[in-house]
């Protein structure tokens, strides 16, 4: 039943003023929601690759919106020490967008900057963002028969969404990297940029 329409404050969601982004929910609320996302997708697929792809697609949508939100918000913010002088500027260089993802996006979404950002040694087009324990993986344990499946595929999707919307198409995947002396493996988000990005980067000098 559609309620009798009263006069709404804002007729259009786009006219509503953008919040500061400081509102929080409990970690457990997010963890429950994420677990339902994974469980629902498990019922819709037959194999692990499909499951990872679906989680990535969900993350892609989050990433694209996140970029838009952050870009709009940075314009309005003044004198906030954390944002430095990044307002009103679109990242056009590879290192610029990578450090945007590694610091700003991570800080907004997960409350801290990512643990590390590295350039791949074997290939020119590969970069890696590493995290000791991804927020989404905190309460998840992978059964042995699921092999290398990583729910970090959701985060890989977020990164892909941000990069794609910013004009840096890439293939992004999440991998577990076992660390010596630690019980839980580290998670690495591997970013492989498309040819055109590297060509453009070389042209820009």
């Amino acid at each position: 039943m559609i309620g009798a329409s009263k006069i709404k404050q804002y007729s259009n969601v786009l006219e509503k003023p953008l919040s500061k982004g400081k509102q929080e929910v409990s970690l457990s609320a997010f963890a429950f929601l994420f677990s339902e996302l994974v469980q629902y997708n498990q019922t819709q697929v037959d194999n692990i690759a499909e499951l990872e792809r679906r989680l990535e697609d969900a993350g892609y949508a989050v990433g694209a919106r996140c970029l838009e939100l952050l870009c709009h918000r940075e314009k309005c913010v003044m004198f906030m020490p954390f944002w430095l002088s990044q307002g009103n500027r679109r990242e056009t260089r590879l290192l610029g967008i990578l450090s945007f993802v590694h610091s700003t996006v991570w800080k907004v979404l997960f409350g801290k900057v990512a643990d590390s950002l590295e350039k791949g040694t074997e290939h020119e087009d590969e970069y890696m963002i590493s995290e000791k324990e991804l927020l989404v993986n905190r309460f998840i344990s992978i059964p042995k028969d699921m092999g290398t499946f990583n729910c970090g595929a959701f985060v890989a999707g977020i990164v892909r969404g941000v990069l794609d919307s910013a004009g840096f198409p890439a293939v992004v995947t999440a991998h577990f990297v076992p660390m010596e002396g630690q019980q839980r493996p580290r998670t690495t988000i591997l970013i492989k940029f498309a040819e055109e990005v590297l060509r453009r980067e070389a042209r820009l000098g």
Binding site: L37, D57, A58, A61, V62
Partner: protein
Amino acid sequence: MAPAGPRSGDAIFASVERVNAELFTLTYGAIVRQLLTDLEEVDEVNKQLDQMGYNIGIRLVDEFLAKSNVSRCVDFKETAEVIAKVGFKMFLGVGASVTNWDAEGTCCSIVLEDNPLVDFVELPDTCQGLYYCNVLSGVIRGALEMVSMKTEVTWLRDVLRGDDVFELQVKLIKQVPEEYPYKDDE
């Protein structure tokens, strides 16, 4: 040692780990979008959201009871108050109030002040029958069922459909007495 008294919603929310509400909002949006693409029928999506909420609720109630230290509620009125004041605050960080009690005290409305699930959301014309926040009704239903109360939770007012607040109606169907799992004579 005397047991600690019940903690207020604000106190618990301040003590648990928190994440940015926007990550939560955007993830929920991704879930609803996936459901709409897969199921296509708005009624099916409503049912699936309710089911997801139910699955969350049956686990959430354990955490709720552990963290909030509430004592056993005397009647349904107290239950509704606790859900509104403590439950919503400690998980979603929003306040809620209880209104519209019926004569027998089995049916009430919970009005949410704010709803982090619907930031940035607008329902398109093709989805007008969608109860976007149906997961919340499932959560309450699941949580109460785990404490022996069968309830029916429906949306009375929904901002996405043109009303000015979010209002949930919680109706107690019956109290299910706890079943003792073991037979006495075995």
